[in-house]
Amino acid sequence: MKEHFDILVVGAGPAGVAAAVTAAECGRRTALVDDNPAAGGQIWRSGASLPRTAQDWLRRLQQSDAVRLQGWRVFDRPRRNVLLAERTESNGSTGRQVVELHGSRLILATGARERFVAFPGWTLPNVMGAGGLDALVRAGLPIAGKRVVVAGTGPLLLAVAAHLAERGARVMAVCEQAPLRRLARFGLHALREPAKLWQGAHYRRSMGRGLLTGCWITTAHGDDRVRSVTLRQGKKHWQVGCDYVGCGFHLVPNTELASLLGCRIEEGLVATNGRLETSIADVYCAGEPNGIGGVELAVLEGRIAALEASGRSEEANGLAEQRKRKLHFVRAFADACRLDPALRALATDSTIVCRCEDVRFGALRDRTNWREAKLLTRCGMGPCQGRICGATTEFLFGWRVDSVRPPIFPASVASLAFTGAPDHGAASQISQPAKESV
């Protein structure tokens, strides 16, 4: 089926929800397409108590006229301003459907994913991303009484540790790779933003255990799953038993769709002007793909992009000053989360770097760039298309993932063969705003 919208928003995290609500409230015919079972993205994931702001935005979304395509994954762009999306089958059904979505203007709010560092044992079952473990707990994984080690870098670690502790997990250690002095510098930045500082203090209190700084996992040990990890802080090494490990090294923007549309990418970020227009006409970008700046900046950018795309530049300009004040967080985050070069030495020749194809460090160390590694070792050629190992090899070897091709996610043959023929299943999905609960 085909459907035309004034404004088509991709991604239902904070930026996308704010954009869709704002555009719909401006009277524009708006659609919001997202691949998860429910709106909210990762940070406003349902299944847990949400902050007031999140509840407000999600309620406004439900009350808005925006058409919500929840559980649909955008995988291709056949023509300018046209996107193809495939059902993610979040209801478990086997019927596959495709929609062709036309947007006079597109707003990309594709968010970010976690960055991973390869260390021996990181592929063991129950070693996950920090956000990944949190997401699974919110999605029903019982964590009460389980021993958990949270490690990596970034503000997410404390948030995850606090949440898991609230759910009854035994948080054995929270390891932040950055040294204390750098975090203190970040703390000074936070003083300009009292809400963020309060969050940090709250996390520390509810967690009950101190944060280990300049500390990381050197090895995860186990058999059919992780049983313990070796931690290192300075010259000290020690082993901690655990049932789960949440280990994430800050975030990497999801720029694949922007790349596919031809938007200019600079230093791994989508390049935008002050109006959040990308280098491609009628394509806007909001939130983390513009730079990892946190949820408040993402919401603000969603609103700005939607106002600009709705032709309400004057109102958008009114938000520009607020945005400018929050932009320093992008740099502050990046600086605070800079990885210690010593983390490069954790991988041994037998450590897997590309999990999809089981490509080990030893096979990659003498390659000179991403493309050569792909051709000679199959690194990045699996179903994740380099989304996980791309950032890992960028840190290890300085490679940059330099090509994006459709489909940007694996899609069924039926979807790839889609010719725009009527599909009544999808049509009934889209003609009425979905009534899912938030």
Binding site: G47, G92, F116, T123, G129, A139, I388
Partner: protein
């Protein structure tokens, strides 16, 4: 939480009850099963929890390659993992 509304499904033939809103990935982890076998035959379990890494692929009601972290459990669902020898997931 909401005991009255537990959802019953099977993971590798064994019954398991989960709360509404639970994803298949969370159910498989709760059952203590890895999801897939890697190219070299190592057991794997979910990594990213958000539909990016593809480590959580399982067979649901006979359909292979389902990303279990983005699929909600429904009553009577039959979930099979490659680690338990589920068919339909070709190895290279």
């Amino acid at each position: 939480m909401c005991e009255a509304e537990l959802i019953s499904l099977t993971v590798n033939g064994s019954p398991i009850d989960v709360s509404p809103g639970t994803t298949v990935a969370a159910a498989v982890l709760t059952a203590g099963e890895p999801t897939r076998l890697s190219v070299a035959g190592e057991p794997r379990a979910p990594l990213c929890g958000m539909g990016i890494c593809f480590e959580c692929r399982v067979v649901i009601d006979g359909v292979a390659h389902r990303r279990s972290c983005q699929i909600l459990c429904v009553p009577g669902m039959d979930v099979r993992t490659e680690s338990a020898g589920a068919p339909g997931v070709p190895q290279k």
